[in-house]
């Protein structure tokens, strides 16, 4: 050990060794307590700390746990392994046998015990004493080594399992995404290609109104493709954490206005009531992203409620939060599905062919959460859905 152990420590260790026979029973009791405590440990670090404390309590010697990658996983305070110890640990792991080696200082007798599992050794247990270790102590020490080895390998296996399940989840997700994209790209493309080929082949023979109708269709489908692509792009930026957020002071009325503007004719053909609390301050947010959130929510509200029914947008402030509520008078969402609409690819079941791949609200949730806000859906009485989001208001100058 690099720094010689403090004198007090060495003295304590000597006493512990003298009284070892007395303590033998209590030492095994410590081990038993340890075995009971280990499963309750939250992580590897906590488990190794518990092992180290039990080792010191029952054997009375300082200990260090070294991994197979020459990493010190845990050690008794003041007992940090040095190069000699790493060397000994390596030969212990290679031979599968404990190694005894000398060292200067109070704790002259050093030991390295390999942590053996059914796979390769996962590390070594290092400890030191001022006198040779009595033979009758070894079974106890081996028990500690076994517990340590089991703890480390269990943690490694858990980590691998978690990794595999993430991989599986990602793969399943990508498959769903790809299928969904393929379907949603092919449908509008089919009609665009159809229109183009019709025009190419029979342009002269076509009635002008039919021709205009065809062109309108192609244009609408192309716009739909473009929106889909925009959503996918936003989605992948959110998923990869690549969204760069601005936090500019924004006028809520302006944000709502920009969203309505972006929705264009769709929003003009529909009665939309906007109520904005006149005392609202400017609120810090990423203007363009919150406009996107509102566009997605409004688009949904329009899609899932009858064309003549009004939609309301209310903005208010309370408890240092901005709240925007978009409510429609559609059929509403079943209570148990209210949260699911924010999950990827989860369109409300009854909606049928309304287009889209169910990413809109999940994008909204991603963007709102990136603003440290919250978003949820409510069932309205007697009918309809309200999608509500809140953003924190930082202390700003009043308007």
């Amino acid at each position: 050990m690099g720094a010689p152990a403090p004198d007090g420590y060495a003295a304590g260790v000597t006493r512990a060794t003298v009284f070892f026979t007395f303590r033998r029973k209590s030492a095994f009791l410590e081990l038993q307590k340890l075995v009971q405590r280990l499963p309750g440990c939250r992580d590897l670090a906590e488990a190794l700390r518990v092992i180290e404390q039990a080792f010191v309590a029952s054997i009375g010697l300082p200990v260090a746990i070294i991994s197979d990658a020459r990493k010190v996983l845990h050690h008794t305070p003041g007992f940090r392994p040095d190069d000699d110890d790493f060397g000994a640990a390596r030969s212990a792991m290679e031979s599968g046998q404990p190694v005894e080696y000398p060292s200067a200082g109070g704790l002259r007798f050093r030991y390295s015990v390999p942590l053996i599992t059914w796979r390769a050794p996962v590390g070594a247990l290092q400890f030191a004493s001022s006198r040779p270790i009595a033979r009758r102590m070894w079974p106890l020490i081996y028990s500690f080594a076994n517990q340590t080895a089991l703890t480390i390998i269990r943690s490694a296996l858990a980590e691998e399992a978690r990794h595999v399940s993430v991989l599986f989840e990602t793969e399943r997700f990508q498959k769903t995404l790809l299928n969904s994209i393929a379907h949603n790209v092919r449908t509008p493309l089919a009609s665009i290609i159809g229109v183009l080929s019709t025009l190419q082949e029979n342009d002269a023979a076509l009635d002008p109104t039919v021709r205009d109708d065809l062109l309108d269709t192609a244009r609408q489908e192309a716009d739909r493709l473009n929106r889909l692509l925009g959503n996918l792009l936003d989605f992948s930026r959110i998923e990869s954490g690549a969204v760069q957020m601005r936090a500019d002071p924004c006028d809520v009325q302006d944000v709502i206005g920009a969203a309505l503007e972006q929705l264009g004719a769709k929003a003009r053909e529909r009665p939309i009531e906007v109520v904005i609390d006149p005392s609202l301050p400017l609120v810090r947010m990423d203007f363009a992203l919150i406009v996107q959130v509102l566009v997605n929510i409004l688009d949904n509200a329009m899609k899932y409620s009858p064309g003549s029914t009004p939609i309301s947008v209310e903005a208010s402030a309370g408890c240092r939060q901005l709240e925007i509520r978009v409510a429609d008078q559609g059929e509403g969402i079943d209570e148990e599905d209210l949260d699911r609409v924010f999950e990827k690819f989860n369109r409300a079941r009854r909606t049928g062919e309304t287009g889209g791949i169910g990413l809109g609200l999940s994008i909204c949730r991603g963007l709102i959460e990136a603003h440290r806000g919250s978003i949820w859906a409510e069932r309205r009485n007697p009918t309809g859905t309200a999608v509500v989001f809140r953003l924190p208001i930082r202390q700003e100058r009043e308007r």
């Binding site: 601005r246 002071p249 302006d254 904005i276 700003e396």
Partner: protein, 230 residues
Amino acid sequence: MTENCARVLVVDDEQAIRRYLRASLSAHGYELYEAATGQEALELAPIARPDLMILDLGLPDLDGVDVTRSLREWTRIPIVILSVRSQESDKVAALDAGADDYITKPFGAGELLARIRVALRHTNPAEAASAFTVGDLRVDLSRRSVRVRDQGVQLTPTEYDLLKLLIRNADRVLTHRQIIREVWGGLSYDDELHLLRVNISNLRRKLEADPTRPRFIVTEPGVGYRMRTA
């Protein structure tokens, strides 16, 4: 509409886009030059002497923002930027570097032609009239008078300056930074952005019939504002 004979240099590496622009712009009487890279554009511009340039932001060799900067060292010709949706910050950078306007791909021919007309108009100072009328908004710059629906409107000096700037650049996008530079100068960008938002909001309350659905002062999310006359 073949009275135009303005020369337009189109810079885009996508041949399909160049073909589409050639077809729709020539049909309206514009004379077209084409470049596929930023370098080509920089070499061609002084020779062809175009009246306007359509510049794609995502060129294979040079950054569109850099091309804009190089051009602005020697020419004031209007530059209309072509961008895609994920290039918000580049778009603003190009506008701040001196580009005149932008349009987002995919775009319709009508939209592009409108942008081109506006950009060409702003190079012609003879058209900078002192009276301005859109719908029921009348502004007489020589008399500092603003009327909406035949009612006089009282504006603060800042609101008036802001309105004047927007009118002088009618139909053209102005970035936050450009407006702040013209109207406020000095302070930190953040403070002034705050003032800008408040003043726009006040202007709309005084001028617009429905400030939530502004007819005159339109917001370009993440970019700036535009005075709309069409």
